[in-house]
């Protein structure tokens, strides 16, 4: 009798446990997961790739065009569910701002390591326009190679919009003692940088721009300048002199804080999801070089790499 009672208690316990487990594995809400699309290829293809993975789990997905800086505020408010390409040096600030205000969570990091740095197209090194590149010290002797009409005889460095990293580059140029040889010009958008790169390539002239990898420019060859290596605390904001180069950066994923509760299965896949530099490059190349549409590129990538993404859903 006593044994039976024990069994009964154990049985009830087991029942409760499975019920709780069942609770934890609750079905994903059928409300659509809202994925933002920005204005560069790898991001849009990856949006459709992730959307495809979610759909394979039975989720509904919706794509929302959004500004890449404004999107973090939107995630925080729940207007957008996730962001899958948070670049450290460009979006890190917006990402942490939104996180500090509450509502946005860090959903893990891709294994791709990124670099966001000044550099030159490969032909500049190949044609030896500035001997010694990609070492930064070479810049001391060939400012005039990079001069433009409005740079007043100095070399011009084309930096991304000021919203990306403020005065980081002008400070670095000053700290390295290149201040009287180079000026930093802020481009207004990534498009402006690509247009300048394309024009410079046609003419074969020297140009220093801000760029990043993985990116579609990798295909044509782009050499990043080797600045003094990054160490913790070397930037002016962290108390250093600001002369160091960029760190190898992370590529993170962000999500709205409700996402794990509303779509546990999808969130689990999203948090496991991790792409390498090569995979991101493949996605961008399908659009940029093979000229597929973004949706078709995502379909093709999902079909070709089933083993890769199936692992995230397990």
């Amino acid at each position: 009798m006593r044994k039976f009672k024990n069994k009964l208690v154990a049985g009830i316990f087991a029942l409760i446990l499975t019920a709780m487990a069942g609770q934890a594995m609750a079905k994903d809400s059928s409300k659509p997961i809202r994925i933002p699309t920005h204005n560069w290829s790898s991001q849009v293809v990856m949006a459709y790739v992730i959307g495809g993975i979610f759909e394979s789990l039975g989720n509904n997905v919706e794509y929302v065009p959004a500004d890449s800086q404004a999107v973090y505020e939107a995630i925080r408010n729940g207007d957008v569910t996730i962001s899958h390409e948070v670049w450290q040096s460009t979006f890190g600030k917006s990402f942490y701002n939104a996180m500090a205000k509450g509502g946005l969570i860090d959903a893990g990091t891709h294994s791709a390591s990124t670099l966001e740095e000044l550099g030159v197209p490969h032909y500049v090194v190949e044609k030896n326009l500035c001997p010694g590149l990609p070492n930064w010290e070479a810049l001391k002797n060939c400012a005039e190679v990079f001069a433009t009409a409005d740079s007043g005889g100095k070399g011009r460095i084309l930096e991304g919009p000021q919203s990306w990293h403020g005065d980081l580059m002008p400070n670095r140029i000053k700290a390295l003692g290149l201040g009287d040889k180079f000026v930093v010009k802020f481009a207004g958008s990534a498009d402006a940088i690509w247009a300048e790169l394309a024009a410079a390539k046609k003419e074969g002239r020297g140009i220093i721009t801000f760029n990043w990898t993985p990116n579609f420019t990798d295909a044509d060859g782009f050499d990043f300048i080797e600045f003094p290596p990054y160490q913790d605390g070397c930037r002016i904001a962290d108390g250093g002199d600001g002369s160091c180069g960029s760190p190898k950066g992370w590529l993170k994923k962000a999500a709205n804080y409700k996402f794990p509760k509303t779509h546990p299965a999808a969130y689990s896949a999203f948090s496991k999801l991790s792409f390498t530099t090569a995979q991101i490059g493949q996605m961008a190349a399908l659009v940029d070089t093979e000229k597929l549409s973004h949706q078709d590129a995502a379909k093709k990538w999902l079909a070709d790499n089933e083993a890769v993404w199936m692992a995230f859903t397990k």
Binding site: P65, A66, E73, D79, A149, K185
Partner: protein, 686 residues
Amino acid sequence: MTQFSRHSKLIQFSFFVAVFLILSFTIEPSENNLLWRLPAYLAGVPAIVNDSVEYMMFDWMPIEKYNEEIEDFEETPLLKEITRSISGAILFCIQLIREILLGGVKTIVAFTSWDYVQDNSWAHWPALPWTVVSAAAIVLGYALNGIWLAMLACFATIYIAVFGQWEPAMETLSFVMVAAPLSVLLGLIFGVLAYKSQTLEAILAPLLNIAQTMPHFSYLVPVTVFFGLGDHAGAIATVIFATPPMIRLTLLGLKSVSPEVIEAGIMNGCNKYQLLFRVLIPSERHQILIGVNQVIMQCLAMAVIASFIGAKGLGFNLLLALNQLRIGQALELGICIVLIAVVLDKLSLGWANKQIDYFADLTFAQRHKYPLILVAILVVGTVLAYLGTFIFKDGINYFYLIPHNQGITTENFWQSGVDWMVNNWYQGLQGFNKGLIINVLVPMKNAYLGMPVSATFFLVMGLGYIVGGARSALIVGGFLLFIAMTEWWDRALITAYMTTFGVIVSVIIGMVVGSLCAQNSLATKAILLVCDTFQTFPSFIYLIPVIMLFGVTDTSVLIAVIVYATIPSTRYTVEGLRNVPRTLQDAGTMSGVNRMQRLVTIELPLAFPHIVLGINQTVVFALFMVIIGAMIGTDDLGQLILKALSDKNGTGNGLMLGLCVAFIGLAVDHLILRWSADRKKALGLL
């Protein structure tokens, strides 16, 4: 003072310039010198604006609300719930139209739930086949304005379908079809209310001024904070942009209704509403029509900007294409936007001009001819689309929807055109570019930055005094004072320098081209069409080729500015010259002047007040484009507005910067309007 105002304007002006120069050369440039730069008393305002917006949106009057997603109650602020309900309503309308055009499930979801749709696969709204939409547009065009409009609609829809832009075009259309009627409705309501109430008119006037001169970038952030991200946010930003001209034109129209007409209405026993809807609005139809035309143009001009905050469609695809430097593709998308604008514009004009024939005695079939045809088209199109599933085996039904990668494309042609341009013109233009930058732009920019704040005030307020007396001087001084007390005075000077340069060149080009085209009625029509096209053609497209030719420099920005700002100066010159009274022209001819003399001595002076209004518009257009020039790379207010999109204090900064730009515009606006009104009176044109 009386002594001073008795001197001729020229002497007054020379006096102000002289003082300006003396001040410029004597004042020490130092941050502590009040005469050089005013301290930034208003530097704290953006943070205050921001905090209050945050407080209102996220803390003020929290209410308990059950959230079924996380199965718990959560606190949510009242205002957020209200704005989100508005968003929801607008989004529902957009979705509804979009799903009628393209198919989908969201409208069904709105009445059931996502679970329901997932469990019932039949719960999916089918799209209208593109053949049906095209045929309907053609029939509508024919019904409203005859064969020409039908042909235009035919060309536009087939162009869009054949180039594979059907889906994005319908997405854009669906949000325009919500934003445009909403703007027209709001414009009419506010216009009528302002007509009835002097107080409201007085309150609205400055708000309208600001809304029309504030760059749209600066209110994108506040719109997303209040209404979230998505098509509805795009639509709301578009409504903010498109409503002011409608309000203005409604008010203008109502005011110009002659008292005899109103009295006739009253004598016939109209009550207040009958007077409004049966007498006032029908008789000011013309102004309302111009308003509707402006609303449609503004809505499509916003198609690209709206995609920054989540509007789907042509605008977003265009930005994406530009990012890959696929200018050909972007151009095709831009043409789609222009075509939609032109067709919608002409359709709405046709509809509004249609007179109802109250006396015709028609049979049922005659009276309902067009609805019947539309039903027939729907049936035929649907059957055709159904048959299409058997004809096309590769999964794409060309009779239903043409997916956007299956259309033909002229991309390569345009692309090679751009390549050719860059290859052949680049070298030649470099000399021009360098010369312009070194000899003109850099010195001009330095001159602007070298102005002490006191000298600037003296000159601008002096101009105000000459034009409109002490009152004008105080008004423009007030605008300047606001800018001077922010921390962005130097940035504003750079904006002012680029705008000045852009306006001077645009006005010269516009007046020359306009004067030439006004001599011939065919050329007049052609140039007005060109103006309409360029006004809706997304300026982002020509930014890229311009950068390729001129680099990330002020030259590129200014070329973009000039392309855009020449539109109003050309348009107003043409209109002004064409509207010179025939009798005066004849009088001149009879007095024996030749064609050239007539133009220079009679037509231009008479048209000048109207041309000046064009210059006013040119200033506004130039300011807008200088701000968009931030996408190329500038170091003026525009760069900061762009930066505000990602700032912690984005809302406050964006709005304050927007106000700075608006106030530059309004100061110029005040001077020009005042002068033009006086001048018109003097010429007896009013």
